[in-house]
Symmetry: C2
Subunit: 203 residues, 2 copies
């Protein structure tokens, strides 16, 4: 596409590098910015710069935070249980359920030999150290995605934790709430039968 201005072209190309945004959407955003007061763009770009410049990762749970000590150890949390997740959005999703008030541990990825990501590239060592040094923690929930990489990572972690006196659990896999049986894949359906729960235990 021939752009009317090099400034527009450059901005479109930078925006279109973001995931899920093509050049047409980028152009629409650029034209929107041009119609807004200058302060709008200034606020936006300052917020992005400051985000990238000042963001920290909590040195205990590796969650994105404003300081190196996040609020993960807050008094209102159940400090006897740690939920291991792949990334920060998973923390937000689990918190939003209102069903969990324990601690978190963000791996920052999952073991994926195909992509060259080994156990040393995710925060597994720091999880083991954390569990060794914190007597309060009695249970680890593995809440990784139900993919091959997620399962591999769960298996690797569970093996490492065998020597510690800690209960290792994983989130339930099964038919989603509101899901139709006929559209479920065989593995999920089979697992939901073999791992069936007592009816009155359901939430």
């Amino acid at each position: 596409m021939e752009y009317p201005s090099q400034l527009v072209e450059r901005a479109v190309e930078e925006i279109a590098k973001l995931p899920g945004i093509g050049k047409k959407t980028a152009l629409r955003l650029v034209l929107h910015l041009l119609k807004q007061p200058k302060a709008f763009t200034t606020e936006l770009s300052i917020s992005l710069e400051e985000l990238r410049e000042k963001i920290k990762y909590c040195k205990t749970c590796h969650i994105i935070a404003d300081t190196e000590e996040c609020t993960c150890q807050n008094a209102y949390r159940d400090t006897s249980i740690v939920c291991v997740v792949e990334d920060t959005p998973d923390v937000l999703a689990i918190r939003n359920t209102g069903q969990y008030n324990g601690l978190f541990h963000v791996l920052g990825g999952r073991i994926s030999p195909m992509d060259g990501i080994g156990p040393e590239n995710v925060n597994i060592d720091s999880l083991v150290n954390r569990l060794k040094n914190d007597d309060q923690i009695k249970e680890v929930i593995l809440a990784l995605s139900g993919t091959m990489e997620g399962d591999t990572t769960s298996f690797y972690i569970s093996k490492l934790l065998k020597e510690l006196d800690i209960k290792v659990t994983t989130i339930a896999r099964g038919i989603p709430v509101g899901g139709e049986l006929e559209f479920a894949d065989e593995i999920t359906l089979g697992r939901s039968i073999s791992k069936r729960t007592l009816f009155n235990q359901e939430g």
Copy 2:
């Protein structure tokens, strides 16, 4: 949603002000930026700042440009014809067809009394002055959207141009290429019949 960091929250809120981007998408973009090198974010925010700070509008055709004299008067263009459009994306869309190599005039909107936009809020005066001062221009194509506001604007401009010795045309309305007749609305279909063209004239 409870964000893990105020920096993240602020960036999400700024991004979510953009049209078509909700808070979930904004959060995904923020987390993407955090995984990229710092230079990625710097480039992005500088391009936006420079865009907003330095952009100009051509004083002749009002198209977005790097200078106040855009390339609209380039020698390769047919300077006897001006296409009047609502906004810059329309210029790009028409240029991309390869069917038009004349000049453009960007109104910067359309007359819409409901939104308090009168003829004085769009670049109609400058169009009339341009046509009065440029003897070369023999035809004006009104390429505005097929809405009530677009039609009102076309009508208003055509009335103003009556006194000038200029041919005023408008883009053809009809069934889109590849469009099925049974799904077309009655007005479009009726118009496509009353404004039918000779078969061998079709492009």
